[in-house]
């Protein structure tokens, strides 16, 4: 069981036209292409686009994707809508967060907060806060401490709903 990379990285441009509709251009580069080279190429291609299109390029992104070759079986009763929300205080005083789908009951307190004394939660917090500068906010500010953590149920989307 391992994560296997796809053969290529995907470079995707997002466009908007006069009506506000969104479109995309998708191209691929070899997976081994460094981010420096691929992003420079992405910028070089972007520079040529206004001359051939009347739409505007809103953004472009470069994605390196991996797939689990032999995923295990999810636990009985697991639901991605049952999330653990973790909000982190950053060095710039703002907060950044993520949620973990399918949070297990064993790390929850009766009032719905995440039990920050739980050993698995302590390990999670240690990795996010303290192990080098692995993680940051969207603006690049380092993660300083856990501000809050609690259970939240998100709404089931049409796609996630059971067939009727």
């Amino acid at each position: 069981m391992a994560l296997v990379n796809k053969p290529t990285a995907a470079l995707k441009y997002t466009w908007r036209d006069a009506s506000g509709s969104i479109g995309h251009t998708l191209i691929h580069v070899p997976f081994a292409t460094s981010t420096t080279l691929a992003l420079a190429a992405g910028n070089a291609i972007a520079a040529t686009l206004p001359a051939i299109s009347g739409c505007v390029v809103l953004s472009f992104d470069l994605t390196y994707a991996y797939v689990q070759d032999a995923p295990g079986d999810p636990a009985s009763g697991s639901r991605v809508e049952d999330k653990g929300v973790f909000n982190w205080l950053c060095a710039n005083g703002l907060q950044s967060g993520f949620s973990i789908p399918g949070i297990i009951d064993a790390v929850l307190l009766p009032d719905g907060r995440i039990d920050q004394a739980n050993t698995d939660i302590v390990a999670l917090v240690t990795v996010v806060e303290d192990v080098g500068a692995l993680f940051c906010s969207i603006s690049g500010s380092d993660i300083v401490s856990l501000a809050s953590a609690y259970q939240r149920f998100s709404r089931t989307s049409k796609r996630q709903a059971a067939p009727r």
């Binding site: 953004s59 994707a65 949070i103 692995l134």
Partner: protein
Amino acid sequence: MFVPICPTIELVLLDESGSTGSITFHVPFGSTVTEAAASASALAAVALSVTDCVLVRQRIRYQYKSDDTSAAEPGSSIKRAGVFIFANADDATQTLVSVPGIRDEVLETEEPGTGVIIDTSLSSVSDFISALFDAGIVNPFDVAIASLVAAYRQSRV
């Protein structure tokens, strides 16, 4: 001008019902794929112990946002695409690149290709094609493009 935002790591989890959800977080500017993948592995190692879902995919995404707030040109439509088809180096497959909102100015003005065929002799078009070759683009199976075989306007909905 395009402005980078911090790279994103995404861990996609699968539950018993077949639905997926994800853990999405950021890693510092300048992180290489190897470094970002190591961060993703470190997060996965601790996050998977507090979820009853399983990890099925991982993505590392680098994003650039335009700081140009100008609107698209009047009449431009993403459905009016320029399609560039390349023969691949394996002589067996082709690669398609679609550009939404292709300009009328880059279409041929003489028959038989009037208003349909893209004029590849124009510098604006050849600059784009050269940029694709310079980027070393490949098809999704990592086969390099070799030559342009067709370029035309197409309605893509």
